[in-house]
């Protein structure tokens, strides 16, 4: 067991604690960025002028009429930018564009004394456009070869030979939609000029350091002149990893130019029409199986719909390609990946970060092919699981592959799956208008940023003279419970009660050069950095306590606020006494902690290496009931066993699993992004740009029975206190819902029906699928089985 993962007895990590801000959440006392506006004086409000065209050159921008609107203070345009006119890091996202690249693109911003004044000012701005041809679907972009960024190629084994030799070969195409983050708190920033010209920006951002860097380059100042703070976010899900930068920069620019605080908060329509989403993908594939149902080869081309700029599309694509195997051993693999450039919002990180898209392709392949191979889909999946000693197509050993089977068996037994399958068969035999089905799918998800450099973190831990502890780290809180876990880590490492530790909001002048709170890595990275800082302090205090107790420093133990020797009968001191003594001995009572994940390497060009510290595993079984009249369905029961290592905080982890699952189910079934693909005047406009048209799962979509278990004996040697990351992997457990819907639709037809199911599987999509099944068509997969 590594010292990083070793957990003391009776530790505070592992206790099922509520969220550290729960009491503030439920009373409304918790403050979010936009709640600070009423607590700030003399604030100006920002409103964008948005493009009504999917693609257009801006011939003329007349801002003068806006100044005639009472209350308008300033209109911000590209001419106001003292530094670099770029909201991103790849220099392809002008903050003030000369060409509108998507419907809703912000052209300029109006600052007003009130939000109403800014809104009316924006209406008064006159923009003359020259419309240009646009591409609004991934298919259109593929047809004309409009790609961006670097295409990637991943290859292992001999795909052509394996396909030629395989007794069963199928091919198909599959296009599936993206997903709007719909964090309940829209993007918001509040910028003000502090003492000495220091720019202070409160931002709802998952990546304060990058927000800081972009503000600095837009303003043409050094990073040390800009401080970014994030109190907490009302949800992020990846949508606030890159997107907040430009908005924070607009607010900072406005504050710099006017000398007054500037608030920029997007309303829901603006947020949905302006910010990036999960990438939709197009895929085409050929797959080969042997007579025993084993996958022998997969040849796939993945095309991510990147939208108008690169954003995070390249790493999203890389993760998709690295997850096309999911939990399945495929000896021969070839995957080509590319990023389409379309006139849509710039698609970005979203929980899973391409992983879900890659895995969806193989799950769709298995779901479609199982009936054609004559296998029960559950059996087909299970017999393709990775085994100990296997490696992924990019050359990484699949450590703990046996956990797939462990999760699977536990779901089978705890969910009483075999009995329920029999019941379902009986039910379906007697019900002409309702069909049920149960499906099980696994998850194997790699943890770490694919880009090795991002796998570092810092922390700052202060112990004050009275023994109270203040911690600060580079991670941000978006509801995932990171701060709760970090408090538990600090209290455990220092051996003090949880109440002695307080956590201060994330800000860039406390911990610099942080990575985004993303890739599920927040607790792994920041937890290890906090542990490192606490250990430095504890080591110094061991010297002090050892001296006072008359024992060797290495025999000193810190437990629950007491400091004592190893033996039960040894004398003890209070934590406060030791801290007090240390101060008077002039011992440093604070420390900066640092962590870098060891053992990672990745060759992005060759698409080979060991980019992940470990894999997180899980299995879900979902049972659905489909109505044959409408295609409407209910999710009757879900059983999950998921591997979070030794949980740092079980209540938080179960919350992540349940929430991730429902969010994934939303993506796959209900949430329906529809852009206007016609050649009419609204071409490129997002038709589902509001909560009334873009439907999130509500209480009625929650599984009627929802059982979540954490895999036991799941210690992870390479991570803080033996835990594993949990933010993203459970989202992909929701494949089981989609596969159950496919099987229920098939049950309306003759045995062995292969169903091609749209994604998202809305009631309409399920209806067409079951209509086809009912008509008795055993459709070949996609463009035709071979």
């Amino acid at each position: 067991m590594s010292s990083l993962s070793l957990r003391p007895e009776n530790s505070i990590v592992g206790l099922p604690l509520p969220h550290e801000s729960a009491a503030l959440h439920v009373t409304g006392e918790a403050l979010y960025t936009d709640d600070l506006v009423i607590r700030t004086h003399d604030v100006l409000h920002a409103w964008p002028v948005q493009s009504p065209h999917a693609h257009a050159r801006i011939l003329d921008l007349r801002v003068k009429p806006a100044y005639d609107v009472p209350g308008v203070v300033r209109v911000l345009t590209s001419e106001d930018v003292p530094g670099v006119n770029d909201a991103g890091v790849k220099h392809d996202e002008p903050l003030f564009p000369s060409e509108a690249m998507f419907h809703g693109h912000a052209i300029c911003w109006v600052l007003g004394e009130t939000l109403e004044a800014a809104r009316l000012g924006a209406l008064a701005v006159e923009v003359e456009y020259e419309e240009l041809p646009s591409l609004v679907t991934v298919r259109e972009a593929i047809a004309v070869g409009n790609f961006q960024g670097i295409g990637r190629h991943l290859e292992n084994g001999d795909v052509e030979a394996a396909l030629a030799a395989a007794p069963h070969v199928f091919e198909g195409e599959f296009e599936f939609a993206g997903q709007e983050h719909f964090y309940l708190e829209t993007n918001s920033a509040l910028a003000l000029i502090d003492e000495g010209g220091q720019i202070f920006v409160q931002s709802s951002t998952q990546h304060p350091s990058e927000t800081q860097e972009i503000i600095a380059h837009v303003l043409g100042v050094a990073s040390h002149a800009v401080t970014v703070q994030c109190l907490r976010m009302g949800g992020g899900f990846g949508g606030k990893e890159m997107q907040p930068h430009g908005f924070a920069a607009i607010a900072a620019l406005g504050a710099t130019l006017t000398g007054r605080p500037v608030r920029l908060r997007l309303n829901r329509t603006q947020d949905v029409t302006m910010t990036g989403k999960r990438h939709g993908f197009h895929s085409s594939w050929r797959v080969g199986f042997d007579d025993e149902g084993h996958l022998v080869a997969l040849d796939a081309t993945l095309t991510a719909d990147g939208g108008w700029s690169l954003d995070l599309s390249e790493p999203v694509l890389a993760r998709a390609m690295c997850h096309i195997d999911n939990g399945y051993s495929i000896p021969n693999v070839r995957v080509d990946g590319r990023i389409a450039k379309t006139n849509k919002t710039s698609q970005t990180a979203f929980r899973g970060f391409g992983g879900p898209q890659g895995m969806l392709v193989i799950e769709d392949v298995l779901g479609r092919c199982a009936p054609l191979l004559g296998y029960d889909a559950m059996e087909l999946r299970r017999r393709n699981f990775y085994q100990s000693g296997d490696s992924t197509p990019y050359g990484m050993p699949v450590r703990h592959a046996e956990r797939l089977e462990a999760c699977w068996s536990e779901v089978l037994s705890e969910g009483d799956i075999e009995r329920r399958k029999t019941e379902i068969e009986e039910f379906n035999a007697t019900q002409p208008h309702l069909k049920r089905a149960i499906a099980m799918t696994p998850v194997k998800f790699g943890i770490s940023f694919n880009l090795t450099a991002f796998n570092q973190a810092g922390a700052l831990v202060h112990v004050y003279k009275d023994g109270s502890v203040l911690i600060n780290h580079g991670g941000t809180e978006m509801g995932q419970g990171l701060h709760t876990k970090m408090l538990q880590v600090a209290a455990t490492t220092l051996g003090v009660p949880l109440a002695r530790v307080r956590l201060a909001p994330t800000r860039t002048d406390k911990v610099p050069n942080t990575s985004a709170t993303a890739a599920s890595s927040g607790a792994d990275l920041n937890g290890a950095a906090i542990k490192n800082a606490c250990e430095q302090i504890r080591t110094r205090l061991e010297q002090v306590a050892g001296g006072k107790l008359g024992i060797g420093a290495h025999d000193v133990r810190f437990v629950d606020g007491r400091v004592r020797g190893l033996t039960f009968d040894s004398a003890s001191l209070s934590w406060e006494e030791v801290v007090h003594a240390a101060y008077f001995q002039r011992v440093q009572l604070w420390a900066a902690g640092f962590y870098r994940t060891e053992g990672l390497h990745w060759d992005a060009n060759a698409m080979r290496g060991e980019p992940f510290k470990y894999f997180a595993y899980g299995v879900a079984a979902s049972e659905v009931e489909v109505d044959g009249f409408t295609g409407a369905y209910t999710l009757r029961q879900v059983d999950i066993v998921h591997d979070v290592g030794d949980s740092l905080s079980p209540l938080i982890d179960i919350g992540q699993i349940e929430g991730g699952f429902v969010q994934g189910a939303g993506w796959l079934t209900l949430e329906d992004l529809r852009w206007d693909e016609s050649n009419g005047p609204n071409r490129g406009r997002l038709a589902t740009q509001a909560a009334s048209t873009y439907k999130l799962p509500s209480l009625s979509e929650m599984p009627e029975v929802f059982n979540v278990r954490l895999l036991e004996k799941a210690h992870e040697d390479g991570a803080v206190y033996g835990s594993k990351a949990v933010g993203e992997p459970p989202l992909m457990l929701a494949f089981s819902v989609r596969e159950a819907l496919r099987q229920a639709a098939a049950a309306f037809g003759p045995a062995g029906t292969s169903v091609d199911l749209g994604c998202p599987a809305t009631p309409e999509a399920v209806y067409w699928a079951l209509e086809k099944a009912r008509a008795g068509s055993t459709s070949p997969t996609g463009v035709g089985g071979v």
């Binding site: 439920v26 009373t27 208008h433 009627e704």
Partner: protein
């Protein structure tokens, strides 16, 4: 002096712009617990409690969307926000359950959930039931999950929120909000506010409203403001004159007689549901599917018909029930059959100076009725297609059939050809199959983001087959 009592303290409204919502007004006062998640009454992050007349108790704490109603419309009223329910050092029982069970993650939706949950906690006829026969939507403590149907959470997946709701007990004896229920809510206050040239008027009587409308027919009438609020927030509408009618006694009458039910136009959907108490089964089926509880607490039946929307949910049901409307103006009252009322997209027979006073449903009801709503999400979604049925079969022959449709044309409409294909024919699978093909051809459904035209047409046809199957099942006849 115009004031609202917030968390027990009076707060002034003078000088507040007429179109300022309750949400923005609260937040501008530093009460930032209520949040804006969507500004169209879909997410419930802005939910607050209002003291409203109750059906089972003098006052009912009613949760509404603060993002939709103008602050001026709560002049003289009492509201409670998440801050008023409890403090972080002294949590309200609802807050306590939500906090300890992991009911909050990011916390942004939480104050709204807490308010919606508190409203159900204080529902005076919420009674624990040992064996709640019906589905998973009621807790052992009588908690109706539909109370939370207008609140969205993007983090938790809802399970801990449901558990918190089902763990709630009864309010303790010294609970002041529980005690408040036994005295009447504040009476409506006649209000007239003019700020920056825009005016908000809440007249005291119906004749005053009708005079105003005669004078100024373009006035924006609001009741729950669940439609007008969206126009103001999302589409930037800024009507110069807003007239509130939701508390007029003349528009809140309810009369269940032998030959008809008369429903005041300003009764909310929630109130009607409780007043009818299941006596009109077709409407009882409709209510849970109409938007969310938060919306139903504000939205009125008159408002749903007044907008003339082709996708309102009450018209297909009321068409099937052969309802008519009483329209009032200074020229007097007239009765219009709902089947004649809709004349075009958001166009009706109602003259600009007329107000819907009541809705009349003739009795007795047809014995077989149903309301079918097709939407992406099971609850709180807008219909792709909605169908209302009222069918009377005597001696195996269809004596009467009325089918109301929504979402398949520029107006709600009666499926006359389908009705003709049923009336006088034997109630058999063959009749129904033939009629369902007729029904599938009714209207002129379109393709949009909610559904394709092909699906809408298919759903019309399937709906009649489903209606037939349901009524066979109900009668114990095997399909």
């Amino acid at each position: 002096m115009t004031t609202i009592k917030v968390n027990g303290r009076d707060a002034g409204l003078d000088g507040v712009p007429v179109h300022t919502t309750v949400l923005d007004w609260l937040r501008d006062r530093g009460l930032t617990g209520a949040k804006e998640g969507c500004a169209e009454g879909e997410c419930g992050a802005c939910s607050v409690l209002v003291a409203r007349p109750g059906v089972d108790s003098p006052t009912q704490w009613t949760a509404i969307n603060a993002c939709l109603i103008p602050a001026a419309s709560l002049d003289g009223q009492e509201i409670v926000t998440s801050e008023g329910l409890g403090k972080s050092t002294e949590l309200h029982p609802v807050q306590q359950e939500m906090a300890v069970r992991g009911g909050s993650q990011c916390g942004f939706c939480t104050p709204g959930f807490v308010c919606s949950m508190a409203a159900e906690y204080y529902r005076s006829d919420r009674t624990p039931s040992a064996a709640e026969s019906c589905e998973h939507e009621h807790g052992p403590n009588g908690f109706d999950l539909h109370a939370l149907s207008g609140n969205l959470c993007r983090c938790t997946g809802y399970r801990p929120i449901r558990d918190a709701a089902y763990a709630l007990g009864e309010p303790p004896a010294d609970d002041t909000l529980a005690a408040r229920r036994s005295s009447p809510p504040p009476p409506p206050v006649a209000t007239r506010l003019t700020v920056d040239g825009a005016e908000f008027i809440r007249p005291a009587t119906l004749p005053e409203v009708l005079d105003l409308l005669a004078e100024c027919p373009e006035a924006q009438i609001v009741a729950g403001s669940t439609d007008a609020g969206v126009e103001i927030n999302i589409r930037g509408l800024r009507p110069p004159l807003v007239v509130a009618v939701d508390r007029l006694a003349e528009l809140r009458e309810f009369d269940f007689r032998a030959d008809e039910v008369r429903i005041g136009a300003a009764l909310t959907l929630s109130e009607i549901e409780r007043l009818l108490a299941g006596r009109v089964p077709l409407l009882a089926q409709l209510f849970p599917q109409f938007a969310s509880r938060l919306i139903r607490n504000g939205a009125t039946i008159g408002g749903n018909l007044g907008t003339g929307s082709p996708i309102g949910d009450t018209p297909p049901a009321l068409l099937a029930l052969d309802a008519s409307l009483v329209l009032a103006s200074t020229r007097g009252e007239r009765v219009v059959a709902l089947a004649e009322y809709f004349t075009g997209y958001r166009q009706t027979l109602k003259e600009p100076d007329e107000l819907i006073r009541s809705i009349v449903v003739p009795l007795p009801l047809a014995p077989m009725t149903a309301f079918h709503k097709i939407a992406k999400r099971r609850f709180d979604d807008i219909s792709s297609v909605a169908i209302g049925y009222a069918v009377d079969v005597v001696d195996g022959v269809v004596l009467q059939a009325r089918v109301g449709l929504g979402g398949v044309a520029a107006t709600p409409l009666r499926a006359r050809a389908t009705e003709d294909a049923l009336i006088g024919r034997p109630w058999t699978e063959q009749t129904v199959r033939e009629a369902s093909e007729v029904l599938a051809g009714e209207g002129t459904p379109m393709d949009d983001h909610r559904a394709s035209s092909a699906y809408r047409s298919a759903m019309l046809g399937q709906s009649l087959l489903r209606f037939y199957a349901q009524h066979l099942a109900a009668e114990g006849v095997s399909a």
